[in-house]
Amino acid sequence: MDNKNNWSLFEVFVRSKQGLSHRHVGSLRAPDAEIALQNARDVYTRRNEGISIWVVKSEWITSSQPNEKNEFFDPALDKVYRHPTFYHIPDGIEHM
């Protein structure tokens, strides 16, 4: 806190209503988690966008790397049998 350049970057996740999952809405800087939560409330939910907020320090997120895209994601491209598309859905079953 002695230098505002030390303010950490936080990622903000907002759940818009019951039953939905939290969705990433953006990021902000704050000196600690409580202030991050307050900042997120004021910056991202002031127009009634949410009923729940998560904040997490950006540095605590481990992410896949763009240059690993080929080995990470491409193998799933040609595995059509992983999609449940080979089943006959009986008449009368909705929302599938």
């Binding site: 806190m1 505002k4 202030i35 307050q38 004021d42 002031r46």
Partner: protein
């Protein structure tokens, strides 16, 4: 008789919200961080919303046909009934937070009490505003903690802000003799005993913040007599400029 006393009491509440709101709006574009800029503006707009309701109610009770805009824009300094604490300059961020924190604790107790008013519109207003105030208090408390328990420079600035503002705290919760009549009529609860509660909670919190209660022999008051510090005139000059120059203009 009690109509005008009651409308003056509502003006006192509404004016305090309006002037404090204006002070917070002055931070717009100048706060230490973008996020604080938005936060202070949000709180200011909450207070402005409260002011609108209170001034409208005051206008109705007054019965002279003045609406919220006429009350806000066409009264002069001596007709304003806001707490002197609200009109004090922002100073630095620490001083603004001290003022806000003192006012938030005041609002918290005041609105909880007013929610039991037999005046239905006032009670409903107080109940609704209490939700906003609880968040304001959470915000200002978090910053009081961080400033006072942070660096020595932040601590010193917070203590200076408190020293500067404490002398305006005496008139919180004070009722005039006429307003005691409103208590008898049940229009408002007796809010004077809340002063001791306020002082208790503020004192305990200040100890937690390692701040000392300023000793002052020179308390200032004058809200309900319209006797203000030199700062209110400048606030009103800015707040009322457009309506004074182009009366009843709108966009």
């Amino acid at each position: 008789m009690s109509h005008s006393v009651f409308s003056q009491f509502l003006l006192h509440l509404g004016d305090s919200q309006l002037i404090l709101s204006h002070r917070l709006a002055e931070w717009c574009g100048h706060a230490p961080e973008l996020e604080l800029d938005i936060a202070l503006a949000n709180i200011g707009l909450d207070l402005l919303g409260q002011a609108r309701t209170l001034l409208s109610l005051a206008g109705e009770e007054e019965g002279l046909g003045r609406d919220e805009d006429q009350l806000a824009f066409f009264r002069n300094e001596r007709e304003y009934r806001n707490l002197l604490l609200c009109e004090q300059p922002n100073g630095d961020f620490a001083q603004t937070m001290v003022r806000q924190w003192l006012m938030d604790h005041y609002h918290h107790l005041l609105f909880a009490a007013l929610s039991h008013s037999q005046h239905k519109a006032l009670a409903a207003f107080a109940l609704k505003s209490l939700r906003e105030v609880k968040y304001h208090l959470r915000f200002s408390t978090a910053w009081m903690e961080r400033l006072s328990l942070g660096t020595s420079e932040a601590h010193a600035k917070t203590q200076l802000g408190l020293n500067e503002l404490w002398r305006f705290s005496k008139e919180l919760f004070v009722l005039t003799t006429e307003e005691q009549g409103l208590v008898t009529e049940g229009l408002i609860p007796n809010i004077e005993p809340l002063k001791a509660q306020w002082l208790d909670v503020v004192t305990v919190e200040l100890q937690r913040f390692e701040l000392s209660l300023p000793e002052t022999g020179a308390y200032r008051s004058g809200a309900k007599q319209g006797l203000h510090t030199e700062h209110l005139g400048f606030v009103l000059a800015e707040l009322q400029y457009m309506q004074r120059t182009y009366p009843n203009m709108s966009w």
